[in-house]
């Protein structure tokens, strides 16, 4: 029950906020903050309750929901879902903090916001494919409204694109799930259940895995921003209001990756093995392509958007390794990018934008003098993002790369190395353009008044996210101790 509280509390929070009058935005934000903190607190309880690799706190039993269709309402979590629960909690809190001054239709904003978060928690907790899919979709629709109503330029287009991509992905997923339902067989014939625990007992014939796996994987990977289906991500991230882009980058993209791991890899081991190299190649394209495009962007948010695509490439790469250390890296990278991606979006979308009123890099220059504190915080975040040792990004990439050495070819590794270099390159170039570049001599001199300093909610949010990244970067065992035993169980079929 404990774990499910995250979902319940979020939905209650959504309703509460939704029913409060729009004029009471000062009260609404406190309700929102309380909801988010409560969700995180529950995840922390989950963290301390986990004892081994198995699913914890299993709630519900087989076929208790819609027995006619073999559907159960069964939830629980293991070491793989745990880091994602935590990152959802963190990002949710910080999302509220960075939307602290939002007053336009605040009640609706937080209603959609927490509906989305509830859905996300639900996905991470579902132990039934149908239930997982339901929550997965619940997380789709609020995104549309969050972007279409509160977004920036081209918000309608971006919102529609994002939702259609997500929905297209889920269509593939649904097809895959239905195929699994019919084709998973044990000694007594077809299992005909959506229950993950039941499904793990049977297996799908190898030939069928060959075609179901790419369906499922691609379906989920669209949401994870896999090239060439990543284009929703940058446009969506850019148009979205800050809290939403934080959620999108921090959490929603992880939904896809989680699905890839839990459902596609978890249930279709042979299919996964067959397609691993292919995924590896796509992952490399993701990393390099994302980095390259980021280098070319003028809009600061687009830079971060493409860097998200690039970083998700590491998650996919980790998934492609199909070994314990690589997958641990993938999960760690999900956490890491969740925290850092959210942080970068928060700084660019709110902290900088509210002060400069522009995100175009050619209009920003030499901000280091006018907002030194913010500039250095961003530099720290960007360093974390490019995988500087000591931050979580490094440790997760390290795990992934070790995993790649173990099971994929050296060429892929060289590709990844090139991607890392590109990452360093564009990060530095963009930091330079935004913060250190001198104004062109031809421009008329402006009065260089310093911008206002960071507000308290901003400081708190930044501290939380950056702190989390540092903490995991230096003490990764906080998470890996929980992740690895669960992955061991997940990988059991691969041993045969």
């Amino acid at each position: 029950m404990t774990a499910l509280l995250t979902v319940i509390l979020s939905f209650i929070g959504a309703l509460l906020c939704g029913f409060m009058p729009a004029s009471a935005h000062q009260r609404i934000r406190w309700v929102a903050l309380a909801t988010a903190v409560a969700g995180f607190a529950v995840s922390m309880v989950c963290y301390f309750d986990i004892t081994d690799g198995k699913f914890q706190h299993i709630l519900g039993e087989a076929e208790n929901w819609i027995p006619t269709l073999g559907i159960s309402f069964i939830t629980g979590y293991d070491g793989i879902s745990l880091p994602l629960l935590l990152v959802t909690g963190l990002v949710a809190i910080c999302g509220v903090l960075f939307s602290w001054d939002l007053d336009n239709r605040a009640n609706q904003f937080y209603a959609y916001y927490f509906a989305l978060i509830g859905g996300v928690y639900g996905v991470f907790l579902s132990l039934d494919l149908f239930l997982l899919f339901v929550f997965y979709e619940i997380a789709v629709v609020p995104k549309y409204f969050l972007i279409a109503i509160w977004g920036g330029v081209r918000r309608q287009f971006a919102a529609m694109k994002l939702v259609l991509y997500s929905f297209g992905g889920s269509a593939l997923v649904l097809l895959g799930i239905i195929a699994i339902f019919f084709l998973t067989k044990d000694a007594d014939g077809a299992i005909k259940s959506f229950n993950l625990l039941e499904l793990q007992k049977g297996e799908v014939a190898a030939e069928a895995q060959t075609w179901i796996f790419p369906l499922l994987f691609l379906g989920f990977a669209i949401l994870a921003g896999m090239w060439p289906f990543h284009t929703w991500a940058p446009t969506g991230h850019v148009a979205a209001p800050t809290a939403t882009s934080m959620l999108l980058a921090g959490v929603v993209m992880k939904l896809g990756a989680y699905g890839c791991l839990r459902v596609a890899v978890g249930l279709l081991p042979e299919g996964a093995q067959e397609w691993a190299t292919c995924i590896g190649i796509f992952a490399i394209i993701n990393i390099v392509y994302g980095a390259f495009v980021a280098l070319k962007q003028d809009d600061f948010k687009f830079v971060i958007g493409y860097s998200s695509v690039s970083h998700m490439g590491f998650v996919l790469l980790g998934l492609a390794t199909l070994n314990e250390i690589g997958l641990t890296g993938a999960v760690l990278q999900m956490f890491s990018h969740g925290v850092i991606g959210a942080l970068l979006f928060a700084i660019v979308g709110t902290v900088i934008y509210t002060r400069t009123k522009t995100r175009m890099l050619d209009e920003l220059h030499h901000l280091i003098d006018r907002m030194p504190g913010i500039a250095w915080v961003f530099v720290a975040a960007a360093l974390a993002s490019m995988g500087l040792p000591g931050f979580s990004g490094f440790i997760s990439e390290l795990y992934v790369l070790i995993g790649v050495w173990e099971s994929l070819s050296g060429w892929i590794l060289i590709g990844a190395g090139f991607g890392i270099l590109m990452t360093f390159g564009y990060t530095l170039v963009k930091i330079h353009e935004a913060f250190f570049r001198e104004r062109k001599t031809g421009d008329a001199p402006k009065v260089e008044t310093p911008y206002p300093a960071m507000t308290i909610p901003e400081k708190v949010g930044i501290t939380i996210l950056l702190g989390a990244s540092l903490l995991i970067g230096i003490c990764p065992w906080i998470l890996t101790d929980k992740i690895t035993p669960s992955l061991e169980l997940l990988l059991k079929p691969f041993a045969n």
Binding site: I66, I138, L164, F167, L175, F181
Partner: protein, 497 residues
Amino acid sequence: MDLDFQKLLLTLLPDLVVVVALFAALGVDYSRLRGAALAKRYETAYRISALGLFAGLVMAVLQACGKMCVMDAAATAGQLKLTTNTLTLKTALFALALAVLPLAKRDLVTTHASEYFALILLATLGMGFVVTSQNLLGAFVALELVSLSLYAMTALNQSRAASGEAALKYLTFGAVSSGFLLFGLSYLYGATGELNLANLPQLESTSLLIAAYLLIFVGLGFKLALAPFHLWAPDVYQAAPTPVAGWIGSGSKIAAAALLLVLLQPVANSPELKKALVLALAALAVASMLVGNLGALRQTNLKRLLAYSAIANAGYLLVGVLAFDSPITDKANGNQSVLFYILVYSIASLGAFAVISVLADRLGRDAEISDFNGCWKAIPGLSIAFMIFLLSMAGIPPLAGFLGKFYLFLAAISALPEAASLDQGFYWLIAFALMMSVVSLYYYLRVLKAFLVVTDEDGEAKQVPVGIADRISIFALAAIIVALGLWPEPLLGLLQN
């Protein structure tokens, strides 16, 4: 023929009550209220028919629960099939009609007050008989009763010239389709010499039978608005009084779908015939999904858009019909899935029309999508309800429409459970259906954008008073959609045949 008339009376009591109410409404209107204000006449007719329908509903529920008149085929000499399954459908139809009545009351589109309500009741009665009938001829006659009432009602919108035109179009198309249906039924009769479906012998795969079924598909295809027999739908949906459009889009669909399933049952035992028919059904499904979804993309009028969405949804429905012969014990049962889906779809569709009726007609607008800009501010409750209806139609969980669609797909796969690759079984069809549902999300969201996203300058002008009965019926429909999505098991249980 020996009929126990007491039993027969009890069996038909729900319908009789409705008939009595129908005449009462007409009688009171013609005698006491002659010359009274139109609103008053509407109110009275509404009250009488609502009361009658409610009484009928209660009795139908009692029947369905087995509290009144055992389900006994003998009572009607095998002409009616009264099982939990069919009675549930009938109950649902009565309940939906009850939700239509308050909507019909508020617009005063025609001076024929009592006739309006009488026609609604008549159509409802007809639908009730279609879903319970076991006799080819009986079913046909009942279906004609439904159709004729609907033709007449379509023409009732006196404020719009297009109304009459649409009614004429509906009538001509409908009459032709009835002809096809009758042809098909008579071929079936000719081939088997049996009118009672329960007694049909095993069917051989003859060209006569194939022709018979193809003609039946054409006939019912018109009623269900399947492509390529859909041409009447957009005009009728747009021009008919909104509550009538809602009733066409929901009640008559339930009746036609149920009839289609009943007519297909005898085919289950002859594999060759089945093979030929399944192909035709799949083709119809693909065509409908394609025409409906692509057609809807271009619409700017909400009612027309819903008409195209109805076409598309009929296509999804056929995906489940493909599995009409799956064994009852199986975890995914075709008939159950079709009935569940059509019920859920009807509720959502009726709900959507109800919202349109409350908003657009009262404002004297033509229900262009942009007319609904900024509704979230003026009427947040209804906007949320509308979102629920539309998202249910689009198939977004946790709403019932998603579960319905999901079940249809499961059923279609279970029709050929041995299929293990994309080109076997109906995986390709489902892939297509899913692709189309992605397309559909685009136009649904476009509508929702108007309702929930856009801020309109004259938002205050949209502050329309919404009657308590309207509110209740709309929110009840929305609540049912949510409830069925979260907890469908009871309804699924009732629909197990």
